[in-house]
């Protein structure tokens, strides 16, 4: 990391700690902010957070490694998490998984070289009646088919900030 990047990270962390309060209970909210902006929680970030909260860096490390949504290693700008739990499995998640691997050229647990995409499995994401379901960062996509995989990836590739366009087909609204 360049010195200026480190400087920027330190400044960000100081702002987040000030916002949530320099308390142990602020640890996870601060880590969530780091994850969202930097797509990883580096050793350096853990050290800086530990200093602010006056705890040992290994405490921070043990928390980061516990939670699926907090990561030490670099994650892509778009993290795709496909549900692999039973209802989505029965609805055909395996074919969606295969198409994701084919279109991205990576396996689950990997990130694309351009740093854009990471592919991961998720446990049930609460869309079981509309599976197979996946999350792209904070957005949910229900009833995904192998064919729709391409559209979802295109949506990511074309967007600059967070995903803007998204139409969830919320079946529960239908009466």
């Amino acid at each position: 990391m360049l010195v200026t990047d480190r400087q920027r990270l330190r400044e960000d962390i100081a702002v987040w700690v000030a916002r949530f309060g320099a308390r142990r209970s602020s640890l996870i909210p601060v880590l969530q902010e780091i994850q969202a902006k930097y797509h990883q929680i580096s050793d350096h970030a853990m050290q800086v957070v530990a200093d602010h909260l006056d705890i040992h860096p290994v405490e921070v490390y043990s928390v980061v490694t516990f939670y699926a949504f907090l990561n030490e290693g670099y994650h892509g700008k778009f993290v795709i998490r496909l549900c692999r739990t039973v209802s989505c499995d029965m609805a055909g998640k395996s074919r969606v998984a295969r198409q994701l691997e084919n279109d991205l050229g990576i396996a689950f647990g990997q990130s694309t070289k351009d740093g854009k995409f990471s592919l991961e499995w998720a446990s049930c994401i609460g869309m079981c009646d509309q599976g197979p379901a996946l999350l792209v960062n904070d957005q949910v996509f229900p009833a995904v088919t192998p064919e729709k995989v391409h559209d979802i990836l295109q949506l990511c590739r074309k967007s600059f900030g967070p995903l803007a366009v998204h139409q969830a087909n919320h079946r529960e609204a239908r009466q």
Binding site: I28, V63, F66, F69, S87, I125, D129
Partner: protein, 396 residues
């Protein structure tokens, strides 16, 4: 109301403000007495009487207490809390506020699972509206009672739905369940008396305050009162969220959702039980087949071993690893399932695995390990013939 309905029928009819106003017009002990009279039991799965929990927290001596809403909803096959939060968030927030009045707390926290981050913004807006309307803040509805609610996000860990793990997580630690006692009602968040309740439980509280305990207690069975939401998925024509009175036979539920030809249903999610067709006359309620509301339907062609494998993979992934029966046991059961798949498991070894499952139920520290063998054990019990003696490696 004998038949079910798709969607949140009862909850949509309740006026959250009426519930809150009715509660604030009473003394704390009267609020708790109303819940006890309604015989409300927790909707998160364990079915603990809400009135008892709240009265313990009310009696605990402390100037600071907390109201926590468990919106971690990680049980496979469960999504009704997501729909409640999307459609009637005010019922939940009013219920938390009533909880604050009942136990003497001025702060509530919603622990929202990370997978539901897309719900955060609308929920924050609903909270802002409630503050502007005087339903939250320094003087709730113009009374001296102060209460506010904060939303905190989970980070992708099923075990954090367990109430003491949830508290650990809020305090900034790994989500590892605590030993109990002490119970959260005595020493919970930051060591203070704390009530932890499910999203749906809080909505029920508001409904009871708005419409009275007799109305609530008249629905369902003697021991399982009130309407209950079910999350239905799997092999059926009409999956989705349903409202049924408790005490409904499985067969009737299947008819409602279009899953009459099912060979089994999993009730209670991965940690629940697999009910075979021969037992579809059993009723769903706390005194029958108890559940937080997850119903997964398996059609005639489903491979039950693949189902068992999927559940065990879930538990191996989600065990916090703190205690040995759960950490090692789940891995062993999964290994055993792989042997069954390959047709390499002797009847004697299957009996060993069954025994291991029973040890896990007894010796695990928290509900995750205590219930993770349930699905495997019930599938072994009811589908022994289907899973043994395989001569080909089944689809992985």
């Amino acid at each position: 109301m004998s038949l079910g309905h798709q969607g949140l029928v009862t909850f949509r009819m309740i006026d959250p403000d009426a519930g809150l106003a009715a509660a604030l017009a009473r003394r704390p002990a009267e609020i708790v007495a109303e819940l006890t009279a309604a015989r409300l039991k927790g909707r998160g799965g364990a079915g603990f009487p809400t009135g008892v929990k709240w009265s313990l927290a009310a009696q605990a001596a402390s100037d600071v207490k907390y109201v926590l809403c468990n919106a971690d909803e990680g049980e496979p096959g469960t999504f009704k809390d997501r729909v409640i939060l999307a459609e009637v968030p005010d019922l939940v927030f009013a219920g938390m506020t009533i909880g604050g009045a009942a136990i003497g707390a001025s702060k509530g926290i919603v622990y929202l699972r990370g997978e539901y981050a897309y719900q955060r913004q609308p929920l924050e807006e609903a909270l802002a509206r409630r503050r502007a309307a005087g339903q939250l803040g320094e003087r709730v509805l113009g009374t001296p009672f102060a209460f506010d609610i904060e939303i905190r996000m989970g980070s992708g860990a099923y075990v954090c739905g367990e109430e003491t793990a949830l508290i650990e997580s809020l305090e900034g630690h790994r989500g590892e369940p605590r030993n109990r006692p002490p119970f959260p009602v005595d020493a919970g968040y930051l060591g203070r008396p704390t009530i932890v309740n499910n999203v749906e439980t809080f909505a029920c509280v508001t409904a009871i305050m708005a419409k009275g305990a007799p109305w609530f207690a008249a629905i369902g069975t003697e021991k399982s009162t009130g309407p209950k939401l079910f999350s239905v998925s799997g092999d059926c024509a009409r999956p989705g969220v349903y409202e049924f009175p408790m005490g409904l036979p499985v067969s009737e539920l299947l008819r409602e959702v279009g899953g009459e030809d099912a060979k089994a249903v999993q009730i209670g999610g991965a940690s629940g039980r697999c009910v075979p067709a021969s037992a579809f006359a059993s009723t769903i309620c706390y005194e029958g087949i108890s559940t937080g509301g997850s119903v997964i339907v398996f059609g005639p062609d489903r491979d039950m071993l693949r189902v068992a494998k999927n559940f065990m993979e879930f538990f191996v992934e989600e065990s916090c690893g703190q205690c040995t029966p759960c950490r090692e046991g789940n891995a062993r059961l999964l290994q055993g399932i792989a042997m069954l798949e390959d047709g390499r498991c002797s009847a004697a070894y299957l009996a060993e695995l069954t025994k291991l499952g029973e040890v896990m139920q007894l010796a695990s520290k928290c509900g995750l390990g205590q219930s993770s063998p349930n699905a495997f054990l019930s599938i072994v019990e009811h589908f022994r013939d289907e899973i043994m003696g395989r001569t080909y490696a089944a689809a992985r």
